[in-house]
């Protein structure tokens, strides 16, 4: 039995299904919501557009679906320019945040809708609707009205309806936004499984970074109408290209300072309180002001009296201000390098010394985990 998930098959991602080239969008003729967007969507991939609200991710999705027209640029789907193709001829399935199920139709009629408007024979429709209901584990719910279903069930119907006509591309606009946390996590895995089983191409919009990390083959991080980075979840988390990506995805401590010297893979940064640390320069040069980002789980504690430590390690004096026990890990708030709100996550079971508020310790972290960015 395989315990680890299979590696994504990169060979199938080679083929480009959809392409956005130089796409711009403005609503008022003054500010660009989307600026010069270039994006390739590979056949069969799960691509997430992640970003804060107003970053242009939903606008991009709506331009793909055809509900918004690009102000400039070109959108291609399977080699066809979509500029003059109305939404109903694009063959793109869309799942909306509030499901958008038709209340006057039963569940089965909702799912049959895309088939009947395409003139699929009645007998085929029944078979395909039954299969779609089975796919989203709602067999036997066909005769109900959408209002008689729970939020999660309604979203599964919306999924089935968007998938039943086998579109080339499925777009999802924050489809789980209206569900509570537990149901959302359940549905994330369900959509993920559907994607793997059916081999469909999904472009998924969310502002929830945990959701993006859970589900995606690739994540495109949007900010101010520009894709800041597009990469696998691990790369986006481990090797963020700029300070925005690093701070938007995952939690991080920010320490301000100046780059004093760069030596190969490392640089020396003097923090604002005068403490020198070693860091990894990302987009800074000697003499630049920098914002050093450090993940809370990459910091460990050491006893100040313990002399052990290699030269690559940063060892900074710290004072524990607050200890929060969370079961699987312990969260600390410490004063570090003149800042009083630095976070540290200690995994469960490795508590030596046992942290207590007021305790003076040393925070130990690798230079490779300190990412020196140009401040935003």
């Amino acid at each position: 039995m395989r315990m680890t998930p299979p590696e994504p098959d990169m060979s199938k991602l080679r083929h480009v299904l959809a392409q956005l080239r130089g796409v711009r969008k403005t609503y008022d003729g003054e500010t660009l919501v989307v600026k010069d967007l270039d994006l390739d969507i590979f056949d069969g991939e799960f691509l997430t557009l992640l970003g804060p609200s107003g970053s242009g991710k939903t606008t991009t999705l709506m331009m793909l679906a055809g509900f918004e027209t690009p102000t400039a640029g070109q959108i291609m789907l399977a080699g066809r320019d979509l500029a003059r193709v109305p939404p109903h001829r694009r063959d793109i399935g869309v799942v909306f945040q509030n499901y958008a199920l038709f209340p006057h139709m039963t569940v089965a009629e909702n799912i049959a809708f895309p088939l009947s408007v395409r003139g699929v024979p009645r007998s085929d429709i029944a078979v395909r609707v039954a299969r779609a209901l089975d796919t989203v584990r709602l067999s036997g719910f066909g005769e109900r009205r959408p209002a008689q279903l729970s939020g999660g069930q309604q979203q599964r119907v919306a999924l089935a309806r968007a998938l039943v006509f086998e579109p080339k591309l499925v777009l999802m606009d924050e489809p789980l936004g209206a569900l509570d946390k537990q149901l959302r996590e359940e549905m994330q895995l369900e959509i993920r499984r559907l994607h793997e089983r059916l081999g469909i191409t999904i472009v998924y919009v969310t502002h929830d970074q945990a959701e993006a990390l859970t589900m995606s083959d690739r994540i495109a991080v949007f900010h101010r109408g520009v894709i800041q980075q597009i990469d696998t979840p691990a790369a986006v988390y481990e090797q963020p290209r700029n300070a925005f990506v690093a701070s938007f995805i995952g939690e991080s401590n920010r320490l301000a300072g100046v780059v004093e010297a760069i030596d190969g893979a490392h640089c020396r940064v003097r923090l604002d309180d005068g403490t020198p640390i070693l860091a990894r320069p990302i987009d800074v040069g000697t003499g630049d002001a920098t914002s050093v980002l450090l993940r809370p789980e990459r910091i460990t504690l050491a006893d100040p009296s313990d002399p052990d430590g290699s030269s690559a390690r940063n060892r900074l004096a710290a004072e524990i201000r607050e200890v929060i026990y969370l079961g699987d890990h312990t969260r600390l708030r410490v004063s570090l390098a003149g800042r009083h709100d630095c976070a540290i996550k200690l995994p469960a079971g490795r508590r030596n010394p046992v942290p207590l508020p007021g305790m003076r310790v040393e925070a130990v972290f690798e230079a490779a985990d300190c990412l020196a960015f140009r401040p935003e």
Partner: protein, 413 residues
């Protein structure tokens, strides 16, 4: 365990009693809150209307003025002339009514049935000799009409106290001398025509309101709030002026020397003024204009509740624009269409002022006849019977609407 079971059996009736008591208090409060309005409505609305409508089925004049005659005719088989007793009873009744001055009431009522009965009654009463041997010969001697079966049948038909004379008349029906329901003579059969015309005009006005109002309601429902608010003021503007003023304004606009004709003549499109007033066209235009808000408002409120994302979803699923409208939008607006059509149609059924002012003689509706009988000929029976028909038509329509759409039932979704 035993203890628990005992507690259950003894406490549940007590609980139910407590529940009932607390609910009773709520019911009493609710009734007390509604009672003043209920009493007000009973005294000022339901009571008077009930009293008026009852006139449509009551027939009190003849039995009270001619009590002996109606009693004598009760056993008459109607195949031949009534027996001598009936003639004698009529003579006695007439003498008494003439001295009491009540003859006119019965004569008027009988005149509704047979034209000329009024003068027959008065001339007979006037010419009755002081001493008579045979009442039958004397009466037939005064006027040969007393020797006709139909004359006596009319008296028997009116011998009340409850009768279907007015209701049948309102449907162009009457009872013949043998008591069978037959069609009224052609020169008296005017009501079915007017009722059909009332329904036709109401139907056309409702259809016009729907065709004109649906797109407006759609625009209102999809516009951003501020512009929608401004447009809504224009929709509601007619409510701020009186019905009479609005109708009179149409007279100004549509008349021979009116705005429309002057404009068309000025541009040179027409050479003769168009006849646009005192005809059916004017009735349709004015009534549609006045009733349009009653179509737009329910449509708007229903359309406002349809999320725009439904239309996008339908398009993304492959439906071209008209299919989106027909299969997704239109079905969801049906409750609004039903409510709007019902409001407009029922109001149109009862329209009186507008057709009276801008329509011609051939464009008058049932309310015109009701007003005619109530205020000009003082025939309360006919006015009440026509009102009953109008009310019944309205109730049937409401019931149909309730069955098809449901009152206040929001569709699941």
């Amino acid at each position: 365990m035993i203890q628990a079971a005992t507690v259950e059996t003894t406490e549940i009736p007590a609980l139910k009693r407590l529940l009932r008591r607390s609910q009773r208090r709520q019911q009493v409060t609710a009734i007390a809150l509604v009672a003043p309005l209920l009493v007000f409505l009973l005294l000022t609305y339901i009571g008077p209307i009930g009293a008026l409508l009852s006139r449509g089925i009551l027939d009190p004049e003849v039995p009270s003025v001619l009590p002996r005659t109606t009693a004598a005719l009760a056993t008459w088989d109607g195949r031949e002339l009534p027996p001598e007793v009936a003639f004698a009873a009529l003579v006695a009744d007439m003498r008494e009514a003439r001295s009491a001055g009540t003859l006119a009431a019965a004569a008027t009522r009988l005149n509704y049935d047979i034209n000329g009965f009024r003068s027959l009654m008065f001339s007979t009463a006037r010419r009755l000799p002081a001493e008579i041997d045979s009442a039958r010969d004397t009466l037939i001697g005064i006027d040969p009409k007393w020797g006709e079966r139909e004359t006596w049948a009319a008296i028997r038909r009116a011998s009340g106290p409850v009768g279907d004379f007015y209701l049948l008349a309102a449907l162009d029906l009457r009872r013949d001398a043998d008591g069978n329901i037959v069609a009224a003579p052609e020169d008296q059969a005017i009501f079915i025509d007017v009722i059909a015309r009332t329904f036709l005009i109401s139907g056309v006005v409702t259809a016009l309101c729907l065709v004109l109002g649906y797109p407006v309601a759609y625009v209102l429902a999809t516009l951003p709030a501020r512009s929608a608010g401004l447009l809504m003021i224009f929709v509601l503007l007619p409510f701020w002026t009186s019905l009479l003023v609005r109708t009179a304004a149409w007279v100004v606009v549509l008349q021979r020397e009116g705005i429309v004709n002057s404009l068309l003549l000025g541009i040179g499109i027409i050479e003769q003024p168009l006849e646009m007033i005192f005809n059916r066209f004017a009735v349709y235009v004015a009534m549609t204009h006045i009733l349009l808000p009653f179509m737009i408002l329910p449509l708007y409120s229903v359309m406002k509740g349809i999320p725009a994302v439904h239309l996008r979803a339908a398009a993304s699923l492959g439906a071209p624009p008209f299919t989106v409208f027909r299969r997704v939008y239109l079905p969801q607006t049906l409750p609004g269409i039903g409510a709007g059509c019902l409001l407009v149609f029922i109001q149109a059924l009862g329209y009186y002022i507008t057709p009276a002012l801008v329509g011609g003689a051939e464009d008058q509706m049932i309310s015109y006849l009701i007003a005619f009988y109530a205020s000009r000929t003082i025939n309360w029976g006919m006015a009440a019977a026509l009102s009953i028909l109008l009310l019944a038509a309205t109730l049937v329509l409401c019931a149909v609407y309730g069955r098809l759409v449901g009152f206040g039932r929001v569709r699941p979704g």
